[in-house]
């Protein structure tokens, strides 16, 4: 029998706790890690939202000077970077972490400490990026950091160093999680849960992890080259030294396009879980849903240069990428028809999650339509770099991902926290969000086609942009307010102490078979699965709703021990990257040596610490 880490810890004078603040630092429990992701991501989401509100206030009237042009550049860069990397991705990660082991009938992920490490590195990256504001040096070159604006010559401050290094840190977190969840889903399913019986959210998560694993290395290389240019004076993207700025664009978008599928596929998965439950009908066309997801991911690697139609690649390249982009609309369309087929003829339960799910379908269709308009390269020459594009991606990222993540939040809240969210407030949230969202972003299609460019800190009067911009700002304020409603709902519901049952929605999947919130070991007995919608199966065999599952002792179930080392290793990673920023200072080598020592020391203890009792 392995000695527990507590014995070793006692010898070393460190005691990982089971409760309290330290229990969160040392936790390796996927459910706690999920909550950590969710809380952090939501705070970053609010920060990104605040950045958006300031942008909208600045654009509310022509020739405005609420913020300086320099600060405006920081605002839109950080808004984009924050929303993509610090909000949508980790909000999805909240659901990956909390729900995937439950959906597949496992006790935890394949590598619990690596899972914790991913979270702490993500937090480090998010804090690092946002700490730039303290130095008045927030990233200001756009979330896509185009060369050679991002070069030392044209971005002499620390802004783009914060950006590149911050993204590298986040990339490490994502890659580690990618390996972890890929192995978990492939290897840790309950007996009988063949891949083709898995919940669609698990499939979409699996495909998303594959996209992360295969696309993040490309941006890692791009960022390395950029940092070498900025820190060491190489000329990868410096034209005077022979560098080609187009190389940056290609490398970035080879990553960047799969990245948007990383942002939307988990949302697709959530919707595929919510619609069946609230239509009381199995998902229409399960196999088509799985294969279309795979096809989207595969094709997603072949369309990246549709972000570059105006860069003069030549007619062959333009045509190839235009055609591939149009092709990708097909599997996406399959999904939309299948969602509609799921709802059609069902017994619709209009609860809050369903509102957001239906809202998702409508908003995502609109975003998809503007997307397909972009795919025609000639038409895109007018649309690109205008507000039309801003409209498109907000419809798919907010109307798509955020609506779906919100649906997931209302859906899974009772399971995660043990109480329901108030229905009335939930519906109010929905309507405010739907109205606010459309008021903000629909007019952008119009001003975009009328010629308003992206990333401008103001516009002159008399061009016809004034009234619609003002409308968009009002819409944004309503949208922001809708989230206050959500926060109020969370606080009110948490205080209400009304306990949620294990299965409040008559759910189809395994997570609803265990108490709310789940006990640490998830399942007292690992279930055996006989088909899709495993819990509906069970209820069918049982002849109706299952009785409330009791909370049991869990004696004899081996769980991984808590550990300090993932946290410490993350600290080492952060220190290493900070040291990189100071590499040419007087103590540069010393900082690097110190950081590497912390990292190696932590990894060493991590490796030799017994993982399981």
């Amino acid at each position: 029998m392995a000695t527990s880490v507590l014995d070793h810890a006692g010898a070393a004078g460190i005691h990982p706790e089971k409760t309290g603040f330290l229990s969160w630092i040392t936790t390796v429990d996927h459910k706690k890690i999920g909550i950590l992701y969710g809380a952090s991501a939501f705070i970053f989401f609010l920060i990104g939202g605040l950045e958006a509100l300031v942008i909208r206030l600045q654009l509310m009237k022509p020739d405005n000077n609420l913020v300086s042009p320099e600060f405006y550049n920081q605002l839109f860069t950080m808004h984009g970077t924050t929303m993509i990397f610090l909000a949508v991705m980790p909000l999805s990660a909240m659901f990956f972490n909390f729900m995937i082991p439950l959906l597949i009938g496992a006790r935890d992920v394949a590598f619990p400490r690596l899972n914790a490490f991913s979270y702490w590195v993500f937090l480090a990256g998010g804090l690092f990026l946002n700490s730039s504001f303290l130095f008045n040096a927030a990233p200001n070159g756009g979330w896509f950091g185009y060369a050679n604006l991002s070069s030392k010559q044209y971005s002499p401050g620390l802004n783009m160093d914060f950006w590149a290094i911050g993204l590298q840190i986040l990339g490490i977190a994502s890659l580690a999680a990618g390996v972890n969840f890929f192995v978990t889903i492939i290897n840790m399913r309950a007996p009988g849960m063949k891949l083709i019986r898995m919940p669609v959210f698990a499939w979409m998560t699996l495909i998303t992890q594959l996209l992360v694993l295969l696309s993040f290395p490309v941006i890692t290389v791009a960022l390395i080259l950029l940092m070498f240019d900025r820190l060491f004076g190489t000329n990868f993207f410096v034209p005077l030294g022979g560098g080609d700025t187009m190389l940056w664009q290609h490398l970035f978008w080879v990553f960047g396009h799969p990245e948007v599928y990383i942002l939307i596929l988990p949302a697709f998965g959530i919707i595929s879980e919510v619609l069946p439950v609230f239509s009381r009908k199995p998902l229409f066309g399960y196999t088509a849903m799985v294969f279309s997801g795979c096809f989207i991911a595969f094709l997603g690697f072949g369309v990246w240069a549709h972000h570059m139609f105006s860069t003069g690649m030549g007619p062959i390249a333009d045509s190839v990428f235009a055609l591939a982009t149009m092709l990708i609309a097909i599997p996406t369309g399959v999904k939309i028809f299948n969602w509609m087929g799921t709802v059609w003829g069902g017994s619709i339960q209009m609860k809050t999650p369903m509102y957001f799910a239906l809202g998702f379908i409508a908003m995502f269709i609109m975003g998809g339509l503007s997307g397909v308009m972009h795919s025609a390269a000639p038409a895109d020459l007018q649309q690109t770099d205008s507000y039309f594009v801003v409209a498109h991606f907000h419809y798919v990222l907010f109307g798509g991902s955020i609506f779906a993540l919100t649906a997931g939040a209302y859906y899974w809240w009772p399971k995660m926290f043990g109480h329901m969210l108030d229905e009335g407030l939930g519906k109010l949230h929905f309507w405010l969000m739907l109205i606010g969202f459309n008021l903000t972003f629909f007019p952008m299609h119009i001003v975009g086609l009328e010629g308003m460019p992206r990333r401008v800190y103001t516009y002159p009067a008399g061009l016809g942009f004034e009234s619609l911009n003002r409308l968009e700002t009002y819409g944004a304020l309503i949208l922001g307010f809708s989230f206050l409603v959500f926060i109020f709902n969370v606080i009110k519901s948490t205080r209400s102490k009304v306990h949620a049952p294990a299965d409040p929605w008559n759910g189809a999947t395994l997570e609803w078979a265990i108490p709310s919130p789940p006990q640490e070991f998830n399942f007292p007995v690992i279930p055996t699965v006989h088909g899709r919608d495993a819990f509906w199966e069970e209820k069918r065999a049982h002849g109706g709703m299952m009785p409330e599952p009791p909370r049991v002792s869990g004696a004899g179930i081996h769980l991984p021990n808590p550990s300090y080392w993932p946290f410490m290793a993350a600290v080492g990673v952060l220190l290493l990257f900070i040291a990189l920023l100071h590499h040419d200072g007087k103590f540069g080598p010393l900082y690097i040596f110190g950081a590497v020592s912390v990292l190696f020391y932590s990894i060493f203890h991590w490796v030799f610490e017994p993982a399981e009792g």
Binding site: I186, L214, V218, D244, M246, L247, H250, V254, F301, G302, A305, M313, G314, P315, I316, A317, D318, S319
Partner: protein
């Protein structure tokens, strides 16, 4: 743990397997020598096969290194006896890696040449 019969038979033949690996090691060494040989031939005038190798050096090197790659992956990395999942993970990654390299090469180096090939169509399509 491998469960296929072939893999299990393979697991128990330790002494023969060690010798197999040594043989592969020698083949790898010979292939490397051939690569360097091809390079030398391509760069020395008047040597037999110089003209052929001068034009065909790249395909020759691709073939030789491809064989070395396959030998290490299949035998040393044990993929020959592993199941389809591991083979699939590595193959798909390699496929995508090759695609990225070829795509970037096409976009940066060969775009002009493609346009020449397509000729009239290209004139119709663009300014």
């Amino acid at each position: 743990m491998d469960s296929t019969a072939a893999a299990q038979a393979h697991e128990h033949n330790f002494p023969e397997r060690a010798w197999e690996y040594v043989k592969i090691g020698l083949v790898l060494f010979v292939l490397t020598a051939m690569e360097v040989g091809a390079y030398e031939i391509a760069h020395r005038e008047g040597v037999p096969l110089h003209d052929f190798m001068h034009t065909a050096l790249i395909p020759v090197l691709i073939v030789l290194s491809g064989i070395k790659f396959a030998l290490v992956a299949l035998f040393y990395m044990h993929l020959k006896w592993d199941g389809p999942l591991l083979k699939g993970i590595f193959s798909f990654s390699l496929f995508l890696a090759t695609f990225v390299i070829l795509a970037l090469l096409s976009l940066f180096i060969y775009e002009g040449k493609f346009s020449e090939l397509i000729g009239p169509l290209a004139k119709v399509a663009g300014p």
